[in-house]
Symmetry: C2
Subunit: 149 residues, 2 copies
């Protein structure tokens, strides 16, 4: 199944918890409780989110984590990239030279276009959107549309 890893999934949950906390600093323990995840798991993914600049960390007593930007300014694509690296449906569309068939492969360029479409789709959903209930057919203010071509 085409899917993101569990850790990426969890990361979106933790990010929404951080977003709900606004400018408060939450410890890994509190985050784990609110997200209902194990502390080591939460710590692990927070490291990557900090590295990507999506979350700020504070050490020492009363340390913890705080969201780095407004939820409207963080996209799901950024979270996915922070956790999994660049979005590319095929290996060759990200790292060239690894596949023996690159020269005579007719589909490589088209996969790259598909990548872009999917990246755009993920980029157009913000963390703020993820905080809202899905809503049966509630239109999102700006008509977020992804051109495939």
């Amino acid at each position: 199944m085409l899917r993101v890893s569990k850790l990426t999934d969890y990361a979106t949950v933790v990010m929404t918890v951080l977003a709900e906390a606004g400018t408060d600093v939450l410890s890994a323990q509190v985050l784990a409780e609110r997200a209902r995840l194990e502390i080591p798991t939460v710590s692990k993914l927070l490291k990557q989110l900090v590295h990507a600049g999506l979350v700020e960390s504070f050490r020492g007593v009363n340390g913890g984590y705080r969201i780095g930007r407004a939820p409207t300014a963080i996209s799901v694509a950024e979270i996915v990239v922070a956790m999994e690296g660049p979005i590319g449906m095929t290996e060759c569309s990200v790292h060239s030279g690894l596949c023996d068939h690159e020269n005579h492969c007719g589909v490589r360029g088209n996969w790259q276009r598909i990548n872009q479409a999917i990246a755009d789709a993920l980029a157009s959903v913000t963390l703020a959107d993820m905080m809202k209930p899905p809503g049966p057919k509630r239109p999102i203010p700006t008509p977020l549309r992804v051109a495939l071509v």
Copy 2:
């Protein structure tokens, strides 16, 4: 990295070879040569494509494979689904009941919407599109657009 499996990638290549052959029946060996892949690998993925109804198979001497539909009537999404199963970015968005957090998870519904957007993106690219060179900015006839909402 968010990606499809190699087998799925290869499947798109094999499908384009079959599409180029039109109504000809090609053996696994010929397909392997044209796609520059190993025969066992090609056989394996063809089994799945036959099962999904995207390819027809013929047994016995002079047997082989033939594309099941016009290339314009086969989408990349169908190939991905044939190889990997349903498109779902998170486990819970496809199979409910496996995740302990379903009841109190605020992001599940939103992931399902993202799934749909990505499925639509993959569904709007046909095998015929994959046969064409990417083309820098050549517009595709019908404005294939994917509404995210």
